[in-house]
Amino acid sequence: MTRKINLRIWRGDATDGALKNVEVEANEGEVVLDVIHRVQATQMGDLAVRWNCKAGKCGSCSMEINGKPRLACMTQVASFPEGEEITITPLRAFPVIKDLVTDVSFNYRKAMEIPAYEHPKDLAPGAARMEQVDVERSQEFRKCIECFLCQDVCHVIRDHEENKKSFAGPRFFIRIAELDMHPLDLLKNRKQKAQEEHGLGMCNITKCCTEVCPEHIRITDNAIIPMKERVVDVKYDPIRWLGTKIRKREGIV
């Protein structure tokens, strides 16, 4: 079944831009990325959009659809009421390059600031033994496809460019949590560093990041809140945590 839909697509670059109206056909089962491609192939040959896998696995086609950060490849056209215009704009937290493509280099700079995994030097290849239950905690965060929707939605940086310098953002809080919970990682005090160097304290747990995560990673509940709690506990009540059952033997768990 084919129907006509009306899109408003933001077109422009760093200097200027505006929403352009366009009418395009949409077939049954199609996602927003499909109709963007149809617009590209038939009406706007130079419309810029990032995409890759078209299956929600690579995190390239991040954009804002009716104001909500989403993957265009996982957003069904049929999820919008018939007759309603669909407004498509670039991610707001990052500088526009052209049309729907933004400069996400902020995220790559932040990735560089997180200290890498440290493997025990005396552990020979293949000698590592880890329980499934212990790797699963970090595996949840390693599901991240780096679509940066959580970064885009986070109001700490969405409307406050000045915070970008001192705030790593939800994507990198789960990276820190992942390493912190990694059964073999040797680097100590990752949580404390998250607080002191990566701006964990600026997060006030509105859970917007969790809501937009296409991988359904419980960013706030499973990464941010546990790290915040433990940092606070160690700061104010270290004894309580020394007694808890821990896997990683370090000053702060």
Binding site: D13, R50, K98, V101, V135, I145
Partner: protein, 627 residues
């Protein structure tokens, strides 16, 4: 022309998937400076789509496994057309490459003893695939990406510049590999963001650009799979080997239309998924080829028992190599026993509980629920063949991954040929990337030692720049989107999963006609992030690849692995001794037959001679290996 950016590196790696990143790590660890160039953002390469796992005979789940068994499985899967040396290196080195990932922070699923867990997969005799649920490719690419970042952090600490040894040039297209005096001198390209041109001067170039799926209409590949490396290598004077062999993955999504072709991991079958037609028949039992009858169950009872007792039962036929399953599905649909949307049913809901399915196949559940509205814990999926992988690729020297005929050029991963013969086993791709990515890095390191510098001439720069500018200066020319769609129709209809000589001949003519028109492609708009402009270059690459595939397919008068000729349905031992070598003379692709390197005695002796008789001529058997 816009202002030209110039860089000097020891090595330029084209492609930032598993193979490219592994090569870059190797070269950097030897102290070289490396540019990593990729068309997408860093970390988005197609490796991310690999679901099932990475094959390595670690023997964690069944300790009967070892490199020899893995080697045998790989050769069988490839119908003995593999380059034996590549298959040998791959089988021997895969375990080390997997353990290395763990030392860089990868977190694979575990066995009860806490070792890396391994799962069953088509064509592998024992559970062999290291995996993370069904998102193993993501784990691999992220681990490699984070390893690159870790090395950059070391450089930042030691000399104050994170990019002193490795710099990632993301969203940059390479249009040409440059040579001077017959040797590699660098590469030329443009930033996708603004169209500005970039020159890399480097004595070594490693091609790791992946596959060619976008040449076809129904494919699991993303827009990036346009055969860039295959075409760049051809134009630089390298050869491609056996380009007629394309793997149609048996299970792609068939509905809704917008996701047609997207992969449904083989793990669904590895975990117990069964294939049925519209009559409810479990049809795979009808399609077990003679050569596999001893190891695949011919009845449901035994096939079902195998999931509980693998030592005393033969495997279910759903786990036959991919080419067999794809052809079987194709035949069922052609015979009118397909589903409403032209596929067959794949059902895992009857064997596993909803909870287990969501745990072992989380992204499949997610993909079907969100894109097709199907809950795979309750209902069957509709699946059908999709163009997934090209076995053919750059002809390389196995130990160094050096491209034959072009000093300084290397190739690894999907873009390299030979390793998988006529058909790749699932799980052998991720391990291939790591084994030969590393070897390409080592090859480049050794080469750069004796060839430390390279300079590109002004003329080469001017010529490369002119070629990039050309499509902008043609007014009212052809539209690259339409030409691409036409090419996909031709390949899909005439050089697809089942071929005939007559149709392939027709395809060769049509591809040539599209290529003639593509010389007149015009681009609307400017250079800034202009997909029409980008496609113009991708199209040129796809046309060369398609020509190479069609011409090789016409010559090979037999059916083997990823090449099925309706007019020559059987496998022929004479043809097993032949590789098809594609080269480019500046105008067209030429194919020559070249004898396949014969397998040395110590590897020959790993097989039961009666098995080899199914593949080799009596003369070869009598010889018993080459030394």
């Amino acid at each position: 022309m816009t202002s030209l950016e110039k860089y000097k590196y020891d090595v330029v790696v084209i492609g930032a998937g598993g193979a490219g990143l592994r090569a870059a790590v190797e070269a950097r660890e030897a102290g070289l400076s490396v540019a990593i160039v990729c068309k997408s953002l860093f970390g988005k390469a197609h490796t991310v789509m690999a679901e099932g796992g990475a094959a390595a005979s670690m023997g964690n789940v069944n300790d009967n496994d070892n490199w020899k068994v893995h080697f045998r499985d790989t050769m069988r899967g490839g119908k003995f057309l593999n380059h034996y040396r590549m298959a040998e290196l791959h089988a021997k080195e895969s375990p080390d490459r997997i353990w290395e990932l763990e030392m860089w922070g990868a977190l694979f699923d575990r066995t009860k003893e806490g070792k890396i867990s391994q799962r069953n997969f088509g064509g592998h005799e024992y559970p062999r695939l290291a995996h993370v649920g069904d998102r193993t490719g993501l784990e691999l690419i992220r681990t490699m990406q984070q390893r690159i970042v870790a090395l950059q952090q070391i450089d930042a600490r030691e000399n104050g510049n994170a990019e002193s040894h490795i710099k990632v040039f993301a969203e940059l297209t390479i249009t040409e590999i440059l040579k001077e005096n017959g040797k590699i001198a660098g590469a030329y390209g443009y930033w996708r963001e603004n169209g500005n041109e970039v020159l890399f001067e480097a004595p070594a170039v490693i091609i790791a650009t992946g596959g060619v799926g976008k040449t076809f209409k129904i494919t699991s590949n993303s827009w990036e799979g346009t055969g860039d490396g295959h075409a760049l290598a051809l134009k630089a004077g390298a050869n491609l080997v056996d380009m007629e062999f394309l793997q149609f993955h048996p299970t792609g999504m068939v509905w809704p239309p917008s996701v047609r072709g997207i992969l449904v991991t083989e793990s669904v079958r590895g975990e117990g998924g069964i294939l049925t037609n519209s009559l409810g028949e479990r049809f795979m039992f009808k399609y077990i080829p003679e050569v596999f009858k001893s190891i695949y169950a011919d009845n449901e009872e035994e096939a079902d028992r195998w999931y509980l007792d693998q030592d005393n039962n033969r495997r279910p036929p759903e786990l036959l190599p991919r080419d067999e399953v794809a052809r079987a599905i194709n035949s069922e649909v052609k015979a009118g026993r397909g589903t409403e949307h032209g596929g067959v049913f794949l059902d895992v809901s009857k064997r596993l509980s909803a909870e287990v399915i969501k745990k072992r196949l989380p992204s499949m559940w997610h993909q079907f629920f969100e894109l097709a509205g199907v809950d795979i814990t309750k209902e069957a999926m509709e699946v059908g063949p999709t163009c997934h992988y090209v076995m053919g690729g750059v002809e390389v020297e196995p130990d160094t991954a050096a491209a034959i005929g072009v000093p300084g050029l290397f190739a690894a991963g999907e873009v390299a040929g030979g390793m998988h013969g006529s058909n790749r086993l699932g799980g052998n791709s991720l391990s291939d990337l790591l084994v030969f990515g590393r070897r390409a890095g080592m090859g480049a390191v050794a080469y750069v030692k004796s060839n430390p510098t390279a300079t590109v001439s002004e003329k080469a720069i001017t010529d490369a720049a002119a070629r990039i500018e050309a499509p902008f200066s043609r007014a009212g020319g052809e539209n690259s989107y339409s030409l691409h769609a036409e090419l996909q129709e031709v390949t899909h209809n005439l050089v697809g999963i089942i071929r005939t000589g007559k149709e392939v001949e027709e395809a060769i003519e049509k591809i040539a006609a599209i290529r003639a028109r593509s010389a007149n492609v015009a681009v609307a708009g400017g250079r800034k992030f202009n997909p029409g402009f980008h496609l113009a270059f991708d199209l040129d690459n796809m046309l060369l690849v398609a020509e190479s595939t069609a011409k090789s397919a016409l010559l090979r008068e037999e059916s083997r692995g990823g090449h099925t000729r309706d007019d020559f349905p059987g496998m022929n031992s004479k043809w097993r001794q032949v590789n098809h070598i594609s080269s480019f003379d500046g105008n067209k692709v030429n194919i020559k037959a070249q004898p396949l390197p014969s397998i040395p005695k110590e590897l020959f002796d790993l097989f039961d001679v009666h098995e080899l008789e199914k593949y080799m001529t009596p003369e070869e058997i009598a010889k018993g290996g080459s030394n």
